[in-house]
């Protein structure tokens, strides 16, 4: 059958037409690709505009086009637009092919002749390919209304509450014993100086008691299978050694436990906890967990003080890790960040010089519920500092560590300056490279800290040392820095140094990303679908990212993202079903020799080996058309609809202009 193909070349304003002679491309396609079935080729200012779409629809109806090629932007952007246009005109949407002459041509070339020639090749490839396209029907599957939220920091809590309040069920999974995340460790929040716990704990309690939220703390996701609307998630519920049904959270076990352990998670190493513990008083849930590594009973086989004193017999030393399976339709990842390890900047002396503190240590130090009851003191636990240096951009904006700006550290440094000033009256120096106080009421806070008398030194700190050169430096920490405003090197002796450390992707972000089928940027943050227009979605449908997992951000932005992702999830849930691209892989049983190379590769577990027939088989309900097995099959026995060998070979022939004359001529 001879196809009737329409070719539409978009100017995209001057985006394409500025570099590509679009009229020439259209004229050329009509002339040179006529034998392939091109019956009409047009160029138009904006093909994606309604007028542009109407042009295509009209031609489909009047000229009886059976295939359409649109030479415009990347399929990523407007493939859907033109598919819908075709469908409106009665043509199967999968008989439309996009030739990317913007991203792949006009945006990457400056020479008009070269760009025009390349555009012709790209169009030629698309024409050859579209002939091989087959009409396909979308597959509709129901959406499971449950949602999984991974990470119980403020972003995850916000997401969970929004969805739960709308009446849908949420599984909120948290790795630590309590939800709350980093925000629960802070004393005050900038710029309003709200008490962090006071604004956070009501949300935590709400999430912990919400009838639509199943809270799974001390738990981790270990496997994700399925696809948008129908994910099957395996969650490991780590043994707490405390029966949650019986525990009332009275705290007697913690009181009686004889084993003290340095708390390097919640208290940042500044305080102690017991071997059986809740990380902090307002923890949600309030059931403690047993730290098996440090428990005397697990170590030596005797003790069981907690068991003896527990009034409800809730201690259970035989508890095992449990694997739970949950079915959800959508997943929100709110896995947060790790704090940059300040030890890595060895010249700032953290870990070596006792009175150099990290930002998280300072948060605990200044917290009224912290190890010093909010007294800002030196490492000896009693001396109040008379002078404090706060170093910004530790581990951020630094080619030796992370190039990116961690966003929150300037405001964090200002908050510290204010707290030190308020609580100790010490002289405070802020060492900064650039002061970044964007967003509402942030710069006003900077002005306030300036007015309070904090001293600002603009320049990168070279070193923090205790090697005194002058008498006034003796017994002090000396901050050696460039002062770019004064144009000189300075040595400033202080009692205490606080490192405003940057944020880093979670140490296991890559593995987590892989498990959920999403990618990370080169820095390691999860990659959003579109940096501006789709900041909480990912390239994997049904998976959303919120909060610092996506990149450094402050609390308001994290909360906004948490809510945004929930809106996206609710939108999906309320659609009740989702249309899946009918792009599926199938095995040709005749050609399959059962070599089993594909068996372990499918990210969606869609491939099964049928031992009786010695062939592998793909379950179309599970297949997502990712193409992994198609590429891997050494026998070429697996083909993917939409990406058949015929289509790809035809496209290559087209690109190489092998299609210009009929074969054999």
């Amino acid at each position: 059958m001879t196809e009737k193909i329409g070719v539409y070349v978009c100017h995209c304003g001057s985006n394409i037409a500025g570099v590509v002679d679009v009229e020439d491309v259209a004229k050329w396609a009509a002339e040179k690709l006529g034998h392939q079935g091109v019956v009409i080729a047009r160029d138009y200012k904006f093909m994606c505009s309604s007028l542009g779409q109407e042009l295509i629809e009209k031609d489909i109806k009047e000229l009886g086009l059976t295939r359409v090629v649109v030479a415009a932007c990347s399929p990523h952007l407007h493939e859907k637009t033109f598919r819908i246009a075709a469908q409106n005109a009665g043509l199967n949407p999968y008989l439309v092919e996009l030739a990317s002459i913007r991203e792949q041509v006009s945006w990457v070339h400056t020479d008009k002749a070269v760009a025009t020639a390349k555009s012709k090749a790209v169009v030629s490839g698309a024409v050859s390919r579209v002939i091989e396209n087959a009409p396909l029907e979308e597959i509709k599957v129901p959406i499971n209304p449950n949602t999984l939220v991974v990470g119980g920091g403020i972003a995850g809590i916000q997401s969970a509450l929004e969805i739960a309040n709308a009446g849908f069920h949420v599984y909120l999974v948290e790795r630590e014993p309590s939800i709350g995340g980093h925000m629960a460790q802070f004393d005050k929040t900038f710029p309003t100086l709200d008490c962090s716990a006071c604004i956070l704990t009501p949300r935590m309690v709400e999430a912990g008691t919400h009838p639509n939220i199943t809270l799974l703390t001390w738990s981790e996701v270990v496997n994700v299978a399925g696809y948008v609307g129908n994910f099957n998630v395996t969650i490991k519920k780590k043994a707490r050694f405390v029966n949650e049904e019986l525990c009332t959270g009275c705290g007697i076990c913690q009181e009686k436990c004889p084993k003290k352990v340095i708390d390097d998670v919640y208290e940042a190493g500044l305080g102690y906890r017991k071997a059986v513990y809740t990380p902090f008083a307002q923890a949600v849930p309030n059931y403690p967990v047993m730290d098996k590594e440090n428990c005397i009973y697990f170590e030596k086989g005797t003790c069981k003080a907690c068991e003896k004193f527990c009034p409800t017999n809730a201690i259970d030393f035989n508890q095992q890790d449990q694997l739970l399976n949950v079915e959800v339709g959508n997943i929100i990842l709110a896995t947060g960040y790790d704090l940059f390890d300040a030890r890595r900047v060895s010249n700032y002396g953290y870990g070596r010089l006792p009175n150099v503190f990290t930002s998280l240590e300072f948060e605990r130090l200044s917290n009224a519920a912290g190890p010093t009851n909010g007294n800002i003191v030196l490492r000896d636990g009693k001396t109040m500092p008379k002078s404090v240096g706060i170093i910004h951009c530790v581990g951020s904006r630094d080619r030796n560590f992370n190039n990116y700006c961690s966003v929150i550290c300037c405001m964090q440094g200002l908050k510290f300056a204010h707290l030190v000033h308020e609580r100790t009256g010490a002289t405070v120096y802020n060492f900064y490279i650039d002061m970044r106080t964007a967003y509402k009421a942030y710069d006003e806070f900077y002005q306030r800290v300036l007015e309070e008398g904090t001293l600002f030194v603009r320049g990168k700190v070279a070193e923090v040392t205790d090697a005194a050169r002058y008498s006034n430096e003796r017994g002090k920490l000396i901050v050696q820095t460039e002062d770019t405003l004064a144009g000189k090197q300075r040595r400033i002796p202080v009692d205490m140094v606080i490192l405003s450390s940057g944020l880093q992707p979670r140490h296991d972000a890559k593995e987590v990303g892989k498990m959920f089928g999403i990618s990370c940027s080169t820095d390691g943050w999860f990659t959003e679908k579109h940096p501006k227009l789709d900041p909480v979605a990912t390239m994997t449908e049904g998976i959303y990212i919120v909060g610092c997992a996506q990149g450094p951000k402050d609390i308001p932005s994290s909360v906004a993202q948490g809510a945004a992702a929930s809106a996206r999830v609710l939108d999906k849930i309320l659609q009740r079903e989702v249309a899946l691209e009918p792009i599926k892989a199938t095995v040709n049983k005749e050609m399959c020799s059962g070599c089993r190379i594909c068996n372990g590769l499918c990210p969606f577990n869609a491939i099964a080996f049928i031992a009786d027939d010695n062939v592998s088989e793909i379950n179309p309900a599970l297949c997502q058309g990712c193409g992994t097995c198609v590429a891997a099959c050494p026998a070429g026995a697996i083909s993917g609809t939409g990406f058949s060998n015929e289509q790809i070979n035809a496209q290559i022939d087209g690109l190489l202009m092998k299609n210009l004359e009929p074969v054999g001529a």
Partner: protein
């Protein structure tokens, strides 16, 4: 009525002669060839002159088995000549189908090949004498064939009716094909569609391999001589031996894996495969069990000669055909 037997020819171009031996290795079946055909041209078996072939009527040879790739202008001339004279032209054996071992010379410019042959340490050539394509002697001008830039499979030069792969094709497959042609002659069968690959199975070597196969996770590639002994019942690839069976067309009864050696791919690409080497690379890469790039590199380094592993038989027929230097050579 005198019965005129149909004519049969066999030719070798750039090849080793193994294909001819494989034909003779059909034992008494070769008598059927003689009984049913008039062998008119077969340089390895009988004396014949090119001019005799040139004098034949076009299309007068019913069946020509052409082995060897096209490496020089003589090969090309005879390929075109036999195409013209033959009704059925079969690219016979791996060299004619896809270039085979001689095709690996496509990794080097032709000058380098000649240099290696005539002026390296193993060659005693103090006067640096190189072959010339023509030479004047008192009797006149002598010619030897001119090497072309690259070796090409037969179908890159002439239209080919059937492809019969193998290095060499297995004798039982040759016998079956001869039987088929004889059956066609007697009206008992019909020829397969033009362009078919004949004398093969419809799957891959794994299909004929009796070794047990499991989900694969390769942590190390090893040469077979470094494993002593390999598990005789387990898939070789799973034991880390780069076995080409998964991408290779079936038809040989998995002779090498059955004998304890890895398949090296002489039967060429399976039906669905366009670029044999690319298929194998992606397949091997897919089952490497490592996450870190350095670890993946280390595992891949276990394949010391990737081109030789992946394209040992198929380089000239692959979309790559040859390396750039070979193409650019004068």
């Amino acid at each position: 009525m005198t019965h005129v037997k149909p004519k049969f020819a066999m030719y070798w171009a750039a090849s080793c002669g193994g294909c001819e031996i494989a034909v003779l290795n059909t034992h008494e079946k070769i008598l059927d060839v003689d009984a049913n055909f008039d062998v008119v041209f077969w340089p390895v078996a009988m004396d014949a002159k090119y001019k005799d072939v040139e004098a034949m009527e076009d299309g007068s040879i019913l069946l020509t088995l052409f082995n060897g790739g096209i490496r020089n202008d003589e090969n090309e001339h005879i390929a075109k000549l036999l195409r013209q004279k033959s009704k059925i032209l079969v690219a016979f054996g791996s060299c004619a189908c896809e270039g085979c071992i001689p095709g690996l010379a496509n990794l080097s410019p032709v000058g380098e090949i000649v240099h290696t042959a005539f002026n390296t340490i193993s060659t005693d050539n103090p006067h640096e004498i190189y072959p010339r394509t023509s030479y004047d002697v008192p009797e006149g001008e002598l010619h030897i064939p001119k090497l072309e830039k690259t070796l090409r499979p037969l179908d890159h030069v002439v239209d080919v009716d059937y492809f019969m792969p193998g290095c060499p094709p297995e004798s039982h497959q040759i016998a079956a094909v001869l039987d088929l042609v004889i059956d066609v002659l007697h009206g008992r069968a019909t020829l397969p569609p033009k362009g078919s690959t004949i004398g093969v199975g419809n799957s891959t070597v794994c299909d004929e391999c009796p070794r047990a196969r499991n989900v694969k996770a390769i942590k190390e590639f090893k040469r077979i001589q470094d494993i002593a002994p390999a598990d005789p019942d387990l898939c070789l690839l799973e034991q880390g031996i780069p076995c080409n069976g998964p991408a290779t067309c079936s038809g040989c009864n998995a002779r090498c894996p059955q004998a304890g050696a890895q398949c090296i791919g002489c039967y060429g690409p399976a039906q669905g495969v366009t670029d044999y080497g690319a298929r194998l690379i992606t397949a091997f890469a897919s089952v490497i069990d490592a996450k870190e790039p350095e670890e993946i590199d280390r595992i891949l380094d276990g394949i010391p000669d990737p081109t030789g592993q992946m394209y040992r038989f198929s380089l000239p027929a692959s979309p790559l055909k040859a390396n750039r230097e070979a193409f650019k050579a004068k």
